[in-house]
């Protein structure tokens, strides 16, 4: 069967090259150019990168995004883990609860953003204020929205991980006199590290790449203060005549950053994984 390998790989490989590798190389190339349409570009060297790095709004968006990622990483994973623990106990209706918690994940980010915008503004209106007036309202609004959306998804991954832990290990720990708390930290969590690696990787990259929710919930108001990196790149690309290349340069920087952070995070959690 081995000699058919090229044949089977071919379609996917073609799609991968056309859909990812080529646009990626083109994108990197364009970040060194000034252009209006992508097929008609003029080489300008590093000037796009210089403009991108001089942009104070871009730097602000980096810190804002980084803070958002850390907070959402903690909130999402702690709650998702707790829910997964609760829903793997032997109690009635766990499947219904799992379904309900998972459902928000099936709704698109743009729609969610608008719905939550109505909810938050409805509440804030009672206090004569609104989301667009304070960057921290936007920040916590995004945290709530993203948690609501992603906790269910992470929960499913954690449930799968929990179910894979052999019962005899926990039983042995119990017979040896370990308390519930000790069993959680000394047995369950170490055994769950592969799931934790995946979930934290997903929440970190999702946090950095967050776009549609940001666009529809706050659109960067007030005055770009709640603009995250992906939205900043998008706005740079379309906001000014002749700045397409700068947006492209920012996107390349953004890619490098996400890769570095992703790799560091994987290393950190991988090293804690134990052999079962």
């Amino acid at each position: 069967m081995k000699r058919y390998m090229p044949l089977f790989v071919l379609p996917t490989l073609c799609a991968f090259i056309l859909g990812f590798i080529l646009p990626f190389i083109m994108g990197v190339g364009l970040s060194f150019c000034k252009f209006t349409t992508v097929t008609d570009a003029k080489f300008v060297g590093f000037s796009n990168y210089i403009k991108a790095l001089q942009d104070t709004v871009f730097r602000h968006s980096f810190w804002y995004t980084a803070l958002f990622t850390v907070v959402s990483l903690l909130v999402i994973n702690v709650i998702a883990f707790a829910l997964a623990m609760a829903l793997t106990q032997k109690m009635r209706g766990t499947n219904i609860f799992r379904t309900i918690f998972f459902m928000p994940n099936l709704i698109g980010g743009i729609v969610l953003g608008y719905i939550w915008q109505l909810i938050f503004n409805g509440i804030l209106a009672k206090y004569s204020t609104a989301l667009a007036l304070n960057e921290w309202y936007g920040f916590w609004g995004l945290i709530i929205l993203v948690s609501w959306q992603q906790i269910g998804y992470m929960m499913i991954i954690y449930i799968a991980g929990l179910q894979a832990i052999p019962g005899d290990v926990l039983e042995a720990a119990q017979i040896d006199g370990a308390t519930g708390w000790q069993r959680l930290w000394k047995v369950t969590v170490p055994m769950m590290m592969p799931s934790i690696t995946i979930c934290s990787f997903l929440s970190v990259t999702n946090g950095f790449k967050l776009f549609d929710q940001n666009l529809s919930l706050t659109a960067g108001e007030p005055g770009k203060m709640s603009e995250m990196m992906a939205l900043n790149i998008y706005n740079t690309f379309y906001g000014r005549t002749g700045w397409e290349g700068v947006g492209q340069a920012k996107a390349v920087l953004f890619f490098i950053l996400v890769v570095i952070i992703g790799v560091l995070q994987l290393r950190a959690t991988r090293s804690k994984e134990v052999q079962q």
Binding site: Y4, P11, T39
Partner: protein
């Protein structure tokens, strides 16, 4: 054994074919626009050799009419015309991706000098073209040096739309409003008697993305217009903000005499303002002739249009803001026969009976061409009345605003100011307006 191997090969082949079919359909006609325009109208065979037209339309509200007009043209002349409409607010994005293709649009549009700056390398010189000769005034040609790169194809006007019956109920008529002072007096009187009358002066000046352009772009045009006029210029890299105090006056008037608390403006949408006006919760509504369909249920006799007065000396003679941000451009890089076909199509649209009827009646445009027909749009006619009465129309200088970023900066500052009307916050508006202009103008170079 042999038979068993046939299946995987077939499956793999099927996948490959499916994939290439998927890539192939990425041609003109599917990109960007989420409207029905994406289906395109390609009635005749493209290989007829005589060139074809591909129009990337900006106005989603006129998509259906363009599709019909395109097929009429094909029926009459045999020249294939494809119309693709970009979704609202997506024009630049759609244009950028469409222009990068082999079958690029032959006819597209820019919004004025700033839009032209990014597309001028793609614009065919229209001087001497038949359609250019049909223009009623040189003012509607978009020039770069001595080249005519774009021509306006629709004229629009905006001002303060008002509800005549409600204004009378409050004890006034439009004749009482001749300048900013009298507008302010009427509006503040209505606000004072709001509970007794049961309506407010202004609809909410929503700063949501669906409505903020009415203020950060259209209202901001007035201080820019007066400054250009005072300085005798029609474009600048450094705005001085001479009339920003007037901008503040009118903005204060709008937000403090409206249906809602100014703190909540950031959440109010364009639909909110339409709804308030249509349900007679407010007398005044700043918008333009294009909004006629939204408000016509109030009855033609009931609708009027006032100039936007901002308290400048001699503004009694000021008329409605009239201009265009819709300029047709022809793609220079298209094949010569396609360029010719496109020029013929444009000329046909503005000279033939079918074309003119479609543009003036079906699409409801006022076209700056000799063949323009009388409008059925009350707001258009109201704007013309000011012209007939000898008032000076306000030109659309917002097409010279340096970038979208600038508009957004002013918009955000206006929203913050509305929530807390302090001098410090107004200084932020000034800063966004004046310094923002200089920064953006420099950045766009």
């Amino acid at each position: 054994m042999k038979k068993k191997k046939v299946m995987p090969v077939l499956l793999a082949a099927a996948m490959t074919v499916g994939m290439f079919a998927g890539c192939g359909s990425n041609d003109a006609g599917t990109a960007g626009g989420s409207t029905q325009g994406a289906q395109g109208t390609q009635a005749a065979d493209k290989s007829s050799g005589d060139g074809s037209v591909y129009y990337l339309n900006f106005k989603p509200e006129a998509d259906e009419q363009w599709q019909i007009l395109a097929s009429e043209y094909t029926k009459e002349t045999g020249v294939p015309v494809t119309v693709l409409t970009a979704a609202s607010g997506e024009y630049e994005k759609t244009l950028k991706s469409e222009m990068a293709k082999t079958d690029a649009p032959t006819l597209f549009q820019v919004n004025g000098p700033v839009g032209l700056a990014s597309w001028k390398d793609y614009c065919y010189d229209l001087s001497g073209a038949d359609v250019t000769g049909q223009l009623t005034s040189e003012d509607f040609a978009l020039k770069d040096g001595d080249q005519t790169l774009g021509i306006g194809y629709v004229i629009e006007s905006y001002g303060i739309i008002y509800n005549k019956a409600l204004l009378e109920k409050a004890g006034y008529t439009a004749a009482d409003i001749t300048n900013f002072a009298s507008l302010k007096k009427v509006a503040e009187d209505i606000t004072a008697r709001k509970d007794e009358l049961g309506f407010s002066a202004f609809t909410s000046a929503g700063m949501d993305g669906s409505s903020d352009w009415r203020f950060k772009t259209h209202l901001a045009n007035l201080p820019i217009y007066y400054e250009y006029k005072a300085d005798g210029i029609d474009n600048t890299d450094a705005i001085k903000g001479t009339y920003l105090d007037n901008y503040r006056q009118i903005w204060d008037l709008y937000i403090n005499n409206a249906t809602c608390d100014p703190k909540l403006l950031s959440t109010k949408t364009g639909d909110d303002a339409v709804a308030e006006f249509a349900t007679e919760e407010a007398v005044f509504y700043q918008n333009g002739t294009w909004a006629y369909n939204d408000v016509k249920d109030l009855g033609d006799d009931n609708l009027g249009l006032l100039p936007i007065y901002i308290g400048v000396d001699g503004e009694e003679n000021q008329g409605i803001c009239t201009g265009t941000e819709n300029y047709w451009c022809v793609n220079k890089n298209a094949a010569p026969e396609d360029i010719q076909a496109t020029l013929d199509f444009m000329n046909w649209c503005v000279t033939s009976e079918t074309g003119v009827n479609a543009m003036c009646k079906d699409m409801g445009f006022v076209i700056p061409f000799k063949s323009n027909l009388d409008s059925e749009n009350v707001l258009v006619n109201a704007a013309n009345d000011y012209l007939d009465a000898g008032k000076t129309p306000v030109t659309w200088n917002f097409t010279t605003m340096p970038s979208e970023e600038w508009k957004n900066g002013v918009g955000s500052a206006l929203t913050a100011y509305a929530a807390d009307q302090s001098d410090a916050n107004w200084d932020a508006v000034k800063k966004a307006f004046v310094e923002g202009w200089a920064t953006e103008a420099a950045a766009a170079k």
